[in-house]
Structure formats: C-alpha cells, structure tokens
Amino acid sequence: MSRTLVTLVVAGSLAASAAVLSGQAPQRPDFTGVWTNYVEPGAARGGGPGRGGGPPLPLTEEAQKKVAAYRGLIGTSGDTPGGHCLGTGMPGSMLGSGGYPMEILQRPEQINITYEAHNEVRRVYLGDRIVPMADRVPGRNGHSSARWEGDTLVVETTHLVEQVEQRYAHSDQAKIVERYSLSTDSRGTKVLTAEMTLTDPVFYTKPVTDTKKWAFVPNGHLLPYECAEEGWRIHLEELEKKANTRKESK
C-alpha cells in the first residue's frame, strides 16, 4: 500500500469517526424539488402503451368480481375519482397522478410529497415521527413510514382504504413498498426512480410491481389546482339563473 493511499485511508477513517462522535446524521440524498414525468432518451412523449396496458393482473376471484362490478357500474361514462375532484390515491398518486408534476420537501424526520393535481399530499414519516399503528387513520393514500437503506429511501404504506377504481385495484389490507433512488441519465438529467411492490392477500395471488421515473425540474414550481372551483362557479350561475327567473315571474 503506497504512502498516499495509507494517508487517505487514515484520513477517511478519522473523518467517519469524527462524524459518529459528533452525532452527525449520515448524509442522505436530497429529493427536494419539483419533478415531472420522465421520458427516456430517444423515446416519444406520450407514445407508450399507457398505464392501462400490460399483462393481466394476478387478481383473486373476489377482486375480479369487485373490479368487474365497478367497471359495469361506470360503463362507458369515463367516470373517474378525478372527475369528481377526488385525489388519485395510492398507488395511482405515486405512479403519475394524471401526468401533473409533484413537489418533494424533505426533512430528516418527514418528507412531504405534493402532487399538483388536486393538491394531493402524502406525508412520509421517519423515525420518531412514525405514527403508532393503533393511531393511524385509513385513507386513500394511507399512512407512509420510511427508512433509509444506504442511499435508497424505503417507504412503506399501509392503512389504505379499498380502491377498486385504481389501475392497481386493492383492498384495505394492501401494503405498498416504494424504493426511491437518484441517478443521472445520459443527458445529465437528474432522475428519481420509484420501484413499487404492492402486496395484498385479499386482492392479489402474488405481489405486483411497477416502476415510475421522475425528471427533476430546475427551479420548478407547482401551480395552484382548485378542482372544485368550476363546480362552485357553475352552482353560482345556476343560483343566478333561478334568481332571475323569480324576478321575471313577479
């Protein structure tokens, strides 16, 4: 071992020891910022098979019946939760949220993810911020807790409500694990990759997986998104029409 190499090894060990002694938290990747849907180099935008494609999902018989009943109910109406100003819910939110961007704000003990569509928010807790099991409130995005495995953030989401309208329909027993990691592509774009595994013994005969990639938007901003504003204005217009009709009839 050369003298230079020995010197570097010793210096590195000392630095690591000093960090431990001083109580410094390990340096983690920072996901903070605005992210938009990633397009692979050379791929056409919007040219893929879409989220509705792919092989059939390994749904249980019970799940198949529930999904078929839901699809029969909406028929060809094109109805979606979003059409009624409802957020996408997991895992749809993390898999694209309707094509809109998302913003991540990261602190050591909590990471907030805001999806622009419907201002949908996920709060991912770490360490002491993780809510005890008995105190968690079920919801469309569930409860998310996380831990670091090296440079990978592992997010586990439970306490979901049943959502048959999802691309990955699931029961309230579903557990979703996301593994987030950073990379840089051949164009120099910072890429955030989320590898998802959904486990649900009620709806699936085996775990299902998917991968979502996001591209960093330098100095990006989310825009306001008040979905219910249109409905409110239409309601006011209807009130105005009724008021005018009453006036005319007097």
Binding site: G82, G83, G98, Y100, E226, C227, I234
Partner: protein, 139 residues
C-alpha cells in the same frame, strides 16, 4: 411549436385520468380527440380555472349569431403550453381549436387558441399532428 408538441402526450393522459368537470360530473369521452374543429368568435365569458378552462364565444356566420359554450384543458396545463393571465379578455375576437362533441352538437373541448393579439397557446390535436407528419413526409 416544440413546446406544444411536447405536452400533447401528457395532456392526453390527463384527460384520460382526471376526467372532467366537477359540477356536471361528465367525462371527456364525449369529445372526439381524433378530430379538430376551428371556431372563431367574440369572448362573452372566460374562466381560467381547473380542472377545465371555460369559454363562451359569440359566433356569427352563415348560420346566424349564437353563443357557443366550450371547455378545455386545465389552466395548469394550458399555462405550461403558453397561456398567461390576461391573454383572453371579454370582448376579444379569438380563434380556438377544439375536439368536437361526438354527437355533433356545436361546442367542444378547447385544446389551443389564437388570441386577439395573435398569441397562440395550447397543444396540437392528434389530427393536427397527423397532418404535420404527412406534410413533413411529403404526402
């Protein structure tokens, strides 16, 4: 134009996933996104809101004068396709590209507009893309 093209795929996805208006609770399936119609008129009402812009135009042509109600992409997506606050005002004469209603009723889903000042914003329709592709290939 590059900016417009780059948003087409994303917006098509948005229309598919997010559906349509809040109060009316209808869906974008009533529009034919494979076709494009052009409507020119004077702005009677314009609302830059989500999930869909709303526009009423007073149209005058050989059929006479009437008001045509339109909806369109979300303000957020139009913003990313060039729309900015104040570009459309009541009284302006503008031209819009719409995906027409499948049942033939007058109206449609606004995908792009040329404002009174000549500013264009929005996205190309599938039909426009196909025409440009054919032109580029010399067909």
């Amino acid at each position: 134009m590059k900016q417009l093209v780059s948003l087409v795929g994303a917006l098509a996805l948005v229309v598919t996933l997010l559906g349509s208006t809040a109060s009316a609770h209808h869906s974008a399936v009533q529009y034919d996104f494979g076709k494009t119609a052009t409507i020119t008129g004077v702005v009677v009402k314009f609302q830059a809101i989500n999930p869909h812009m709303r526009l009423t135009l007073r149209v005058t042509d050989e059929k006479g004068t009437r008001e045509v109600e339109l909806e369109g992409h979300s303000t957020n997506n139009m913003y990313r396709a060039g729309y900015r606050d104040g570009l459309i005002k009541v009284g302006d004469k503008i031209t819009v590209n719409v995906a027409p209603l499948r049942d033939g009723t007058e109206g449609g889903y606004m995908v792009a507009a040329v404002t009174a000042s000549g500013t264009r914003f929005g996205v190309q329709s599938a039909a426009e893309r196909a025409r440009e592709q054919q032109k580029a290939e010399g067909k």
